[in-house]
């Protein structure tokens, strides 16, 4: 990511990231439940791939929090 594009994140952005982390977490758990129940190998394989993608989403969202940590002001407004 271009450093010049990095600005401190707003409260709204932080809330969206937090909500999206919860969504991804829930989707991973639901996919895991589907993978256990499924007896169709094609569906199981696709669902397992979905789990990997959701995990990548979580990594991306967490990474954004880490990258913006040092840019955030130390005192709230």
């Amino acid at each position: 990511m271009n450093v010049s594009q990095m600005q401190p994140m707003s409260n709204k952005e932080l809330e969206y990231i937090s909500d999206c982390i919860s969504n991804e977490d829930l989707l991973i758990k639901q996919c895991a439940a589907a993978a256990v129940v499924s007896q169709n190998p094609t569906i199981s394989q696709a669902i397992t791939q979905h789990i990997r993608t959701h995990e990548q989403h979580l990594t991306k969202l967490t990474g954004a929090l880490q990258q913006h940590q040092n840019l955030a002001p130390t005192q709230g407004h």
């Binding site: 594009q5 969206y16 909500d19 999206c20 829930l26 589907a34």
Partner: protein, 125 residues
Amino acid sequence: MNSQLQNTDLLPLEDILNTILCDLKRSVREYTTATTESNCPSIRQMFTELTDSTLKLQGNLYQIMSQNNMYTAPTPAPRTEVSKQLQSAQQTVQKAQQFVQQRVPNMNAAYQQQPNIPSGPSKFM
């Protein structure tokens, strides 16, 4: 009673997949809203990528469910209705073009001249 539950799925696969499909749709909407309301360009870029990736997952799951008869295909729109909407759309296009032509008279000319207009100050001057 417990042993009966162990031998039976708590929720059929079709219902679980339907729930996931609904949550993917909700997730796409949330990512789209987050994109439009972002201030930091790097965060906007991330939300754009996550919207696209989640849309792909939703499309992929829909295809799987459709192929396995877990999703009732929508009924096709009748031709009369499509023709009616097409006629209305053509009128809308025509009116929109007239609207623009009446207010921006040089627009067509500007488009035609565009290749001859330098794109900006020359780097070599």
